[in-house]
Amino acid sequence: MCLAVPGKILSIKDPAEADDPPLFRMGRVDFGGIVKEIALGFVPEARVGDYVIAHVGFAIGRLDECEAARIFSYLRQMDPLREIQGGAP
């Protein structure tokens, strides 16, 4: 149930009627072709084009692009011989 999926923010709208808009902010998020309305109140730093991780209709965090690449540099470090031989990253 803690399944959460990464998706890309396509657009953001602020509800005009709420007097606490940042917390109630909603946006359209693309999950590999499926677009859903997602609550963005917990990720005020997220902008259009960012990837968020969404759970039961709420973004609970913004994905960090640099950190996401780390596992692949970890793999390269682990296998220096393969690097020298020109193996895939």
Partner: protein, 366 residues
Amino acid sequence: MRYVDEYRDATAARRLARAIEQVTTRCWTLMEVCGGQTHAIVRFGVDALLPGTITLLHGPGCPVCVTPAELIDKAVEIASLPQVMFCSFGDMLRVPGSAKDLLWAKANGGDVRIVYSPLDALRLARDHPSQQVVFFAVGFETTAPANAMAVYRARREGIGNFSLLVSHVLVPPAINAIVSSPDRRVDGFLAAGHVCTVMGYHQYEPIARAYRVPIVVTGFEPLDILQGVHLCIRQLEEGRAEVENQYTRSVQREGNAIAQRLIGEVFDIVPRRWRGIGEIAHSGLELKGPYREFDAQERFGPASSAGEVSCECIAGLVLQGIQKPPDCPAFGTRCTPERPLGATMVSSEGACAAYYRYRGPSGRYG
């Protein structure tokens, strides 16, 4: 899909598995806490890539599985009332209470609806002011901000016909219970990445120190899990017991402060009974103060404190990592996802459901 496909690369997975093998000199037992990780492990055969000296035990991280039978009974009772629209995540419908499940209530005329988000239930309450809309708020810390937001908005907007039947549990007290048990078998933990996305991981640091147990915050894709195992085994082999973060693309040490603030606004920490395990202190959430009026147990009466359902189901032992699903004599015969004896066979995160779905009625390879 970006941030998914690249973490399922088979060549990279084999390289990580080889690296794990290289650092492993003896037998180690790790527990992945979250049911989502269990499913990924069984689905992608991550356990089969690991050297035979490493055992993965499946932890209690399935909120559907640990929701006590008496709360399911209460849900069935409320859902059977006229003028009630009972909303739930789909996983909960087949989970057996002491005698019935929510699917029974639906078949017998109860208005039971599957929703994707608590905000969907709130919308139903807004649209149907003459109905009582009850949402079955089941979950770990990952789901708590969403449920907190639903009730926070209900109060702000004065949506008086909305309430939550709360069954919220917290992970660190459960890890604490497992690691402090006299028959502890676990040498290291893979902590649940999405719980930590919300809560951070500083709460695990005292546990790692007190019990000398490595805890690695880990994601949900095969490469995440393999890297989590690698970090954990390296700590064990080097005699370290620290909290490490594998899932850095999503998790920061302090977690999501805004989500935590809303959880604190709406919920109090209380003792909670875990199905198959028993009561664990400080391990649950309950609506507090001004939000109490949105508690379905205030509105429709409290759940009765029925005892454990006694049957041959070993879900409690599976949830504590003491036994594995295929060890159960009922697995795949008298207990299947269509006719489950226990919640672990129902939930999309239950360990038994994972073994049945990906390994068939024997639950074993081959």
